[in-house]
Symmetry: C2
Subunit: 147 residues, 2 copies
DNA sequence: AGTACACCCTGTAGTGGCTACAAGGTCAAC
DNA sequence: GTTGACCTTGTAGCCACTACAGGGTGTACT
């Protein structure tokens, strides 16, 4: 923990992209949106330069995004991760549990939609004239034999 | 079926909105996007005028949208509904089943995400210091006790 | 005739989280 | 010195709307 700190920021945005699994354009977008701080500009040109800590930060963001956290939530999680290490992780749990509740809600809505769609499709053999199609019937008039 | 056809388009866009459950702004958007044909303009002014058939068409669109069909799919479904009534509804079924498959895929991905999120949250009691938080640990370093 | 007020019009900007360019600048190798 | 891979900023697009701004119109009532 005390000797794997590297000396200089030497990675280009393309290398950071490869190593973190986040596209260079997304990284620039995160900088614009202040999800990550503005990168140092090194070398003779004005290119962005990154180090290993940036790789880890971007991987953190990628994993959080894969779990469905919004960029607002990611910003909060990063702030907590970067903040004082001795504080209890109550807020981390609050954010994660609230997000889980949202995911559950979405799952429930999508499951209900799926069931309804399946029901509607199940009523139609698929070979009857359009005029008698139960799928179109359901869309036109509501439950089943309404038209 | 032969005598409930009304004579004139008399509804304003606001009345159509109320009766169809689709906002007036969404109706204008659908017209711009050619989901519905441009409305007739009646009266002394240049206001859009609608009839009962338009109410039904908008209800059709609303129900299809509630089932998660995209506007592209809605356009196709409307075309089939408006087309020759004796054609078999094969295409309707194809669209609906393809959409169901997409919904199933989304459900699967969301379910997997939910399980992973639940697992990550389950590892953290919520009262430990941020430095030891398993949620942040999972985001920073991968599976469980990696850091 | 005036006027208040609800409704309508078009057009534009914003949402989230990026991706996909265009048009140009920079760097290292050969 | 020149190729070619990379980098830069800035803008437009995705989806299906929503939310205005800034103005016009219809109707009811005085």
């Amino acid at each position: 923990m005390s000797e794997n700190e590297q000396a200089e920021p030497t990675l280009s945005i393309g290398e950071l992209a490869t190593r973190s699994g986040v596209s260079a354009e997304a990284i620039r977008y995160y900088e614009r949106e202040r999800v990550v701080p503005a990168a140092a500009r090194g070398g003779p040109g004005r290119y962005r330069r990154y180090d290993e800590a940036d790789v880890e930060r971007l991987q953190f963001i990628r994993r959080a995004r894969e779990l469905g956290f919004s960029l607002d939530e990611v910003r909060e999680l990063l702030a907590l991760n970067d903040g004082s290490p001795s504080r209890p992780c109550t807020d981390v749990n609050r954010i994660a549990r609230a997000h889980l509740a949202q995911v559950d809600e979405k799952l429930e809505r999508l499951g209900a939609l799926r069931a309804e769609l399946d029901r509607v499709i199940g009523e139609c053999a698929g070979v009857v004239p359009v005029a008698d199609c139960r799928i179109l019937g359901a869309l036109s008039g509501g439950p089943a034999s309404d038209r």
